[in-house]
Every structure is written in C-alpha cells, then in structure tokens.
C-alpha cells in the first residue's frame, strides 16, 4: 500500500492544471474556456491545500487561501458569464476565435 504523500497531490494538481491549460488554449467555445479556467483554479487549490498541510507550519494558511480562490473564482465566473451572454446576444454565438474586435 503506497502512502499518499505531497508528491501525489502535486502530480494530481499538475495533471489537472495541464488539462485546464489545454482546454483554455484549444476550446473554441467560450463556455468551454470558462470551464477550463475553473479546472486551472481548482488544480491550484489542491496544490495550495496540500502544501499547506505538508509543508506549511501552524495554522491553516493554505486552506484559507483556497477559500479565497473559490470566492474569487465565483465572482470571476459570474462576470465572465455575463460577458458571454452579452456576446451571445450580439453575435448569436460564443466563438472565442471570432471575437477579435480589439485587434490592432
């Protein structure tokens, strides 16, 4: 039986982060991109809690930090979804590659 240690959590976190990163960079649907961002944030949360548990000293700094990230992520998701709705009403689609109005 293998003892579950810090490195396992870190590997899980890295795998989740890579999946999320891939999703952010490759999904054409903006909702997919948003979901991938959630994956990124949560992988970071896992890393924070694991490091907080194994490396950090007294107190629950890692957990508290993760709570903050969840809060911010909720806010981010609501703002981003509002933007997506606006884009959808404007163009009838939420294709990331076609939203290039700010190009130089």
């Amino acid at each position: 039986m293998i003892e579950i240690g810090l490195s396992h959590y870190m590997v899980l976190s890295a795998v989740l982060f890579s999946i999320g990163l891939y999703g952010v960079l490759s999904r054409r649907n903006a909702v997919g991109v948003l979901m991938s961002v959630e994956l990124l944030l949560n992988s970071v949360n896992i890393a924070l809690i694991a490091i907080g548990r194994y490396v950090g000293g007294a107190g629950a700094t890692g957990q508290v930090f993760a709570l903050f990230v969840i809060t911010v992520a909720a806010a981010e998701a609501s703002v981003a979804l509002a933007l997506l709705i606006a884009i959808y009403r404007d163009r009838g689609a939420v294709d990331v590659e076609s939203a290039t109005a700010l190009q130089g």
């Binding site: 990163l21 952010v24 960079l25 490759s26 991109v33 990331v96 590659e97 939203a99 290039t100 109005a101 700010l102 190009q103 130089g104």
Partner: protein, 676 residues
Amino acid sequence: MTVELAAWLVFGAPLVSFLAIVFGTRPSGQHILSGRLTALAMLVAWFASLYLLTQVLAAPGFELHPISYRWLEVGSLHLEFGFAIDSLTVTMLLVVTTVSFLVQVYSMEYMANENQDKSYSRYYANMSLFTASMLGLVLADNLFQVYFFWELVGLCSYLLVGYWFMRPSAAAAAKKAFLVTRIGDVGFLLALLVLFVHTGTFNIHELFGHEASDALLKSGFLGMTALSWATLGIFMGAAGKSAQFPLHVWLPDAMEGPTPVSALIHAATMVAAGVYLVGRMLPLFHHAPDTMAVVATIGGFTAIFAASMGLVASDIKRVMAYSTISQLGYMMLALGVGAYVAAFFHLLNHAFFKALLFLGAGSVGHYTDTFNMRYMGGLQKVLPITFWMVLIASLSLAGIPPLSGFWSKDEILGAALQASPLLFGMALVTVFLTAFYVIRMLYLTFAGEYRGGAAAERVALAAATVYSGAGAAQAGEGHGHGGHDTHGTGHGNGHGSHEVAILFIPLVVLVVPSVLSGLLNTPMWDGLAKFLTTHTIETTLGEHHLPFDPGLAALSTFVALAGIALAHQVYGAQAISAERLGAMLGGWPYRILQNKYGMDYLYEFLIVKLAFGQGLVAGLALFDKYVVDAVVNGAGSVSRAAGGALRTLQSGQLQGYGMAIVLGVLIITATMMIRS
C-alpha cells in the same frame, strides 16, 4: 512736521490720489472729482516740497540725512527703499509739483470736452501715478529704486500718449515711445548689473566713494573699464528717456497724446529724468572721461540736429517737441563738459517756459481744433493773453536777455567754449536755429489772417483726397486724420474772442518763473549755483564756476537776434519768401528736414522691416521649418513606424495571447531551472 513725513507726503499724496481715483470714482461723470483730487494731491506735494526746501536750506552742505528702509532681502542681497534729499532733489521736486499742479488745473478745462470718452478717471489716475513715480524717481537714494520708478514713468508715458488709443496713430505712437525708450533701458539695466557686481551696492552715495570707483576702474573688458561701460549704459538709458540722438524718434510722435500730457511729461518732467539721472550720477561719470566726451558730443549733436528739424515742422506741437529734444541736448552737452550747475539751471528754466509753450499750444489747438500751423494765423486777436504769454516764453527759449533762457543758455555756451570749439560752434548755431523756429512758429500761429482752423484743414484734406483719385467717399473721413486733439465738436470757428480763464491762468502763473527764474543764477547773484553745489558735489566734482563773459553774452544775443530777424524777414515782412528760400537751395535741404533725415525711414524700413522682417524673422522661419518642425515631425514618424510594426502582434485572438503567456512562463521557468 519731520523731514521723513514730508518726504512721504511728497511721494504719497499723488499715489493716494491715484488709488482713490482708481478704486473710488466711477469711470464717467465724476471728472470734476478726479481732477480736483489730482490737483489737491499736487498741492499737498508742493507744500511738502516747499517745507523740504526750507529744511535743505538750513542743512549743512545742503544735504539732509538720507532716510532708508529695508525693502527686499534675498540671501546676501539687500535692497533698500530710501529718500536722499539734497538741493538737487528739492529743486526737481518743486519743478515737478509746480508744473504738475498747473497742468492738472489746465486739464480740468482742456479735457472737459472729452466727455464722450467717459474716461476722465483714466486720465487723472494716470497723471497721478505719473507724478508719484516721477517724484519717487527724484527722491530715490539708490539706483535700483531709480530704475523701478524709471520704468513706471515710462509706463505712464505709454498710457498717456495712447490716451486716445482708438486712434491708430496714437496707439502706434504710444508703442513707439515705449519700445524706443526700452532700447535705452536695456543699457541702464546692464549698467546696474555691472555696478552691482563690482561694488555690491546700489546706493548712490556709496557709489560715489573711493572704494566703489576704484573697484570699477580696476576691471574692464573690450579695452574699456567697467566704470566706462556702466556710465555708458546709464547714459544709454538717459538718452532713451531724454530723446537724445539716435533714440530721439519717439518724442515727436508722442505729441499724439493730449497736450497737457505733452506739457507735463514730454516737456518738463519725464524727458528731464534722463538729464537728472546723468547729473545725479555725474560724480561717477567724472571718473570716466570717455563717457563724458560721448555725453557732450551726443548732447551737442542732438541740440543742432533736432533744432534743424524744428525749422520745417508744420505741426505746432512737433515744433515744440523738436525744441524740447534740442534743449535737452543742451543740458546733456553741459553735463558732458562737467557744467553741473548750468545743466540743472537750464533744466529748471526750460521746464517752466516749455510747459508754458505747450499749454499755449494746447489753448491754440483748443480754439482752432487743429495743430497744423498752416490753418492757424491771426490768433493774436482772439487769444491775446495766450499770445503774450507764449511770446514771452518763446523769447525766453530763444535766449533773449533778461529772460530766464538767456542766463542758463549763456552758461552752457561758456562751458562749451571752455571744453571744445566744435561743441561751442554746434551750440551757437543751435541758438540761431532756435530763434528762427520760435519766431516762425509765432508768426504762423498768431500773425496775419485766420486761415480757417480745422474746418479749412478738413476741406483741404478732402480736396487732396479727391484730387489724388482716392475717391470722394473718403473725403468725410478727413476729420479723423486732421488735428491731433480734435474734440469732435467744431467749436473752433464760430465763437468770438473770449478766452477761458482756467486755460490761461496756468500760463500766467508759469510766465513768472519763465521770466524770473533766470535771476536765480546771474553774475550779480549766484545763489542757485551755491545751492546746487552740495557737500557731495563739492568733494567729488569740485566747484565749477565760470566767470561771466560779457563778450560771449553779447555774441549769443546777437546770434539769437539774427535768427529772429531772418524769421521776421521770411514770415513777418515776407521780404524773402519761404518757398523761394527753399527753391534757391534746390529744395533738397527742405526735403531732408521734412523727412527727419530719414531716421524714421531708417528705423521702420531698414531695421524693423528689413533687418527684423527679412533677416531675423526669415531666419527664425527657416529654423522653425527645418529644425523645430523636423524634430516634431520626426517624433511623429518614429511613433507611427513603431506602431505599424507592433500592431500585427495584437491579433485580438484571446487564445493567442494565452499561448504567449504560457510560453513566456515556460521560458522564464526554464531559464531559472537552467541557472539554478
């Protein structure tokens, strides 16, 4: 009453009246109030000056203890505000306050017809400010204070010459007066800096000390000592203010101002400030013989140069203006040869008779509505009192004994003869020219038949306009270009021989000193000479006394009489026609004089248009085009090019940006891992 209080009263009374008029009167409708306030202030200042005179007479060496206050303190630089009261100061104070008071009284009637303008308060406020500044200048005990008030009188002169600023010629004349005197003031400012750098003081009496002059004599540049440069700079400022060649061009044009202004500022006081400054600093000039020679030469040349232009001027006020320049030249000449007393004696006499002449010219213009002597004549019948007053003042100016002008002019001639035969020759010819133009002016104005005044001038102007093919439509505008002080209403022609009392009373008062002030310094009693030779002057310049020379006096009187006789032959008996005289000489001397030796042309065309317009301005335009514009446009092009290159990076592709970020992070991480 203490001396300190009296000094403050002299300087403060006009200043208070200025402030009261500016803040306390309405711009229109209260002209009597403004005028009375100003005249009252002058009266207060006059009495205070009189008190100071009694104090100075009682003081040893005719000098009172200087009164000094701390004004500004910046680091090691201390500026003081002080009053230096000696015999010269009180003499000037009395001249300024007397003339100023009489001019204010005269103005109350003279300017009364200016009611349409509704700007009495402006006129009197400027007059008050002017007098306050002039008195402050005279009282100053240090050069920085002199410079301060020097600029203030210049400003007042600008404001008053341009009093009728709606008239383009007046606005241009005001600008010219300001700019030309400013050229001189640059020299004055540089002189102040040179003096301060070398001696560390602005105080006049400290500058007269040995340490100061030694320090100034020790250093120098361009082959001249610092003292010579400083005195030359002071003289440059004085030449601008006192309208000496080649900075004289502004004074004839300044006649565009109201006549009382000309009488006060451009005859008696401000233009004498230059002479006063050089005279005040004469103990310093004394150590610089080269500057003294320049002062004497410029003075002598200006005297004869300006008098010659006065011969042909047809505007009565311009005749007076040239005469003023010429007489100021006499004073400079006297200072240049070291005749301190003679210069101030002449300044005193000249202030009175020239103010009288200007006020007389004002009365004449008031009656005829024009200042062009071609349209005057026969005014002796309608303005008898004015005529007699002007006649006496004119003879005084011409130097006929025993009137005041004779005594002072004679002293200057004597001093010039001692210094150099050339200067004496110039001064003597000027005596002849002065007598000639004065008598010409009298004949044209007062003798013969009345030639119609402003109405005739309008007709002549209209005819000339039509004749020259410019069209009859402009004929009606003739009035605007006509006289200088035209008062709008054509009151000149119809009314009879009554003279307005308030207009001739100042003349009658001024005629007393015009006749008698000469007696202050005669071979029989030289009280003024003793009075003006203060302790400071005696220890620095020494007593400068010339024995009276009866032969010289006879010669100058004879020359003056010869001038009068010639003028009488030409304009009175008409034995010699002026036209034939001109034609006989080929006409060109007349044209040269009429064109003022081309000085205006020289300045306006060559310097302003060519040197500045073509040269300097064109050069600046090229600089602007090829240097300034190049820098500005270059900055623009570089930005545009950089932007054009970089805009391709900004694709608007969200995931492109994300990719760039990830790659960037990877590169940073990789570098850190490799290095650690």
